[in-house]
Amino acid sequence: MRGLDGQRPALLPGWDRLRRHWLSHRLRDARFQDLLLPPPPEEWVALDCETTGLDVRHDEIVSIGAVRIVGDRLLTSERLELLVRPERAVSAGSVRIHRLRSQDLAGGLPLHEAVVQLLRFIGSRPLVGYYLEFDVAMLNRAVRPLLGFGLPQPCVEISALYYDYKFQQLPPYQQQANADIDLRLSTLMSDLNLPIREAHDALNDAVMAGLAFVKLRHLRSD
């Protein structure tokens, strides 16, 4: 069971401090020392990436959207929206999804630089996203060579928070079996009565995940 911040409780007291200490020894670049500080209270960063496909090893990131969350507010005025120039041409199929053509991306940043900006933007704040594991894996391809390890921030998975919330509401007899809960983003958003915006825009997706996070925190604290 996850806590109100979406995290599973630490196994040992002082575990986080120990982990940070260990990571700072392995950190390759001292510029990123801030990433390992204790996170500011009540702050998170909602994150989403658009990619050329779903293969973590071969596909590439084309855009990154990130929004800081402070309490119940999404600071879209301080958002990060980056276009990333992929090394290979973008396939027609993926253009159809995120509608970014090669020529649109020609002015984008190299992935390496985009990730540096992103790390500065996130700092030590926990990450929030929908199927965040995939985005983190994609980003880690550029993050690992930079830091010596993958993104160190705690990650809050919206679909997992939502699953827990829905599971709790099921009558006990249904909790026994493999509960069938629809985790699609559009289902989740409309079930939570939140506004749905056009998907496959990194910033929109990040904002929607951020809103779902803020609302789920309230639902679970009520």
Partner: protein, 605 residues
């Protein structure tokens, strides 16, 4: 999601691309759980909120004064004042855009329309809208000034000029009329082709007949700054086709009805002609059936609703008069006064509603034996024209509403002495009586009697004013307006908005000896007497016009879909601007009711 900011909504729809970019760059998104206080009195406001989802209640001293829904924004006023004065609470959980204060202030500085729309009072808001709509819509008949219309040059001749010379001048100048100056009698008149026909039929030689004998006096003039809609009403009232336009005593030109009407492709002129020329009830019915079309055209082309109402009043009056003339014998018409009451009498009717009318017979006149039959035929004819019979039988086919002047005066006295139930409502409806055919003096005498009877009777005045709450829905509109359930009940515009306003004004008019029968004229008179402040008067009239416009819009839509006209609007189907106006107008009703409660000591009843 900043890209999804609703720039199509008022007041953001007046921002240019650069200003829109500024908004996108500084907008945040906030979530408020149900019951969360978004703003508290005394707070320093930091944001303008635009609701994406959910509902917010605005409370003043614990009183809910407004409910805001998706696409509404708040609280622009406090943002500029620098201090929050109302409490804003999430009635349902709310997702809202929040726009930083400094951005809003910058936008106000760079875009005056934005500022005006954000902060304006109801009246100001409407005038800003009218200005904005003008370039987009057809030049509207009723919003344009007489001076802007096509004016024909004025030709004037002395009264002693012979008709043959005048006709020669008219032919040379290609004009259909001349102004005749009668120096001796110090008057001016007009001579036109229609009058020429009469002169020729007279038989005397034209070269020896002075034009002054045939001209029509007096000359009807209109100032060049008047609205075209008013000019049209003037022509209809005098049944003439030309007005001389003057400015500072100088004749600028002649405004001809056809020119005025070709200005817009509306058919109100044709309807007037049809009414004038109808020789039987059937052709009169055809004219009546055109009226709704004309109203819809005028409304869609942006004419102000109060001008449309005035036009409709004139058309209806002509229609009723014509029908009465076709049905009743001439001596009955001459010795009686046919009058209309209620919305028709006040000149606030737009779509056809129930007939409310009556007939005053001259004292001592012996009406035809078939009077009942004549009156029934008249009520039936109106029914066929699309004016349904009055459910309360306030029609001249009912003998109670068809009396001699003496009997009418006695009936009014009885109503005043026993002001209860139906008597009060009859009194109220009679106050709006407006003569349409026959001898208008008869009605004037009876009305005068009513005012002398009623004005010093405090108990009557209080009870009369108390009928304002007759529908018993005070305060109920708020929950209806933005009912938080799935299917909000439709809002009944007459019950919730129009009736309290017009009856309140009617009560004040009775108390202050105001004889006018239209709400607009009554408010103007009350303001002139100091019984209402100019601001209060303006608010009441603007709110009245908002309700009338919404009612007309909803009614036209219902008619188009061949549904019965219900007089209601479903709030969730209104545009955010209409909703805004409705909200402000309902706020005016609430304040006005409060004012009247104090004025008439209604708490004591």
């Amino acid at each position: 999601m900043p890209n999804a900011f609703p720039f199509s909504l008022s007041p953001f729809d007046c921002l240019d691309p650069d200003e829109q970019r500024r908004v996108r760059a500084s907008v945040d998104i906030a979530y408020f759980p149900q019951h969360a206080a978004i703003l508290e009195p005394g707070d320093t406001p930091a944001y303008l909120f635009v609701i994406v989802k959910g509902y917010v209640q605005q409370l003043d001293d614990g009183d809910a004064v407004a409910t805001l829904g998706p696409d509404d924004c708040f609280d622009g006023r406090s943002l500029v004042a620098g201090r929050v004065s109302s409490r804003f609470v999430a009635a349902q959980e709310v997702v809202a855009y929040q726009l930083a204060r400094h951005t809003v202030i910058e936008l106000i500085a760079s875009n005056a329309t934005f500022g005006a729309l954000l902060f304006a009072d109801l009246g100001h808001k409407l005038s800003v809208l009218a200005e904005r709509q003008q370039p987009r819509e057809l030049p509207s008949l009723s919003l344009s000034r007489v001076g802007e219309a096509f004016l024909r040059p004025v030709h004037s001749v002395p009264a002693h000029t012979d008709i043959l010379s005048v006709v020669r001048l008219m032919r040379e100048q290609r004009t259909s009329s001349v102004v005749v100056c009668d120096e001796a009698a110090a008057r001016k008149g007009i001579f036109s082709r229609t009058l020429l026909q009469q002169a020729i039929l007279d038989g005397r030689p034209l070269q020896s007949m002075p034009v002054g004998d045939w001209a029509r006096y007096p000359l009807i003039e209109v100032r060049s700054t008047e609205l075209l809609g008013d000019a049209m009403a003037l022509m209809l009232r005098h049944r003439i086709h030309r007005l001389v336009v003057e400015e500072g005593g100088v004749m600028l030109g002649v405004l001809e009805a056809l020119d005025l009407l070709s200005y817009l492709s509306n058919q109100s002129h044709i309807v007037t002609l049809q009414i004038e020329q109808a020789r039987d009830l059937q052709s009169l019915g055809q004219a009546a059936s055109q009226m709704t079309k004309v109203i819809a055209q005028l409304f869609r082309s942006g004419s102000r609703v109060e001008l449309i109402a005035r036009l409709v009043q004139q058309l209806n009056a002509r229609l009723f008069e014509r029908a009465w003339q076709l049905i009743a014998p001439a001596d009955l018409v001459a010795n009686s006064c046919l009058f209309v009451m209620g919305s028709e009498g006040r000149g606030e009717q737009l779509l056809k509603t129930d007939q409310d009318n009556g007939l005053i017979l001259r004292d001592g006149y012996m009406p035809p034996e078939d009077l009942q039959g004549i009156c029934e035929r008249f009520s039936q004819a109106l029914g066929q024209f699309g004016y349904p019979p009055c459910p309360g039988h306030i029609m001249l086919s009912n003998p109670a509403w068809r009396r001699t002047a003496k009997d009418f005066a006695a009936m009014l006295r009885q109503w005043v002495w026993q002001p209860a139930g139906d008597n009060l409502m009859h009194l109220a409806i009679f106050m709006d009586a407006h003569a349409v055919a026959g001898d208008a003096d008869l009605l004037a005498q009876v009305s005068e009697g009513l005012h002398q009877l009623a004005t010093d009777n405090d108990a009557l005045l209080s009870r009369f004013a108390a009928a304002m709450d007759a529908f018993g829905t005070h305060g109920g509109w708020l929950s209806k307006l933005f009912s938080l359930g799935e299917a909000p009940a439709p809002l009944h515009l007459k019950k919730e908005g129009l009736f309290p306003l017009l009856h309140g004004v009617r009560s004040l008019a009775l108390a202050h000896h105001v004889r006018a029968t239209s709400t607009v004229a009554r408010v103007q008179a009350l303001v002139a007497q100091g019984a209402l402040s100019p601001g209060e008067g303006e608010d009441v009239l603007e709110a009245l016009h908002v309700f009338m416009a919404l009612k007309l819009k909803a009614g036209l839509a219902e008619q188009e879909q061949a549904r019965p006209v219900t007089g209601t609007v479903s709030v969730q189907h209104l545009s955010s601007l209409d909703r805004d106006l409705l909200k402000d107008a309902l706020g005016v009703v609430k304040r006005f009711q409060q004012l009247l409660r104090t004025r008439f000591h209604l708490g004591a009843l």
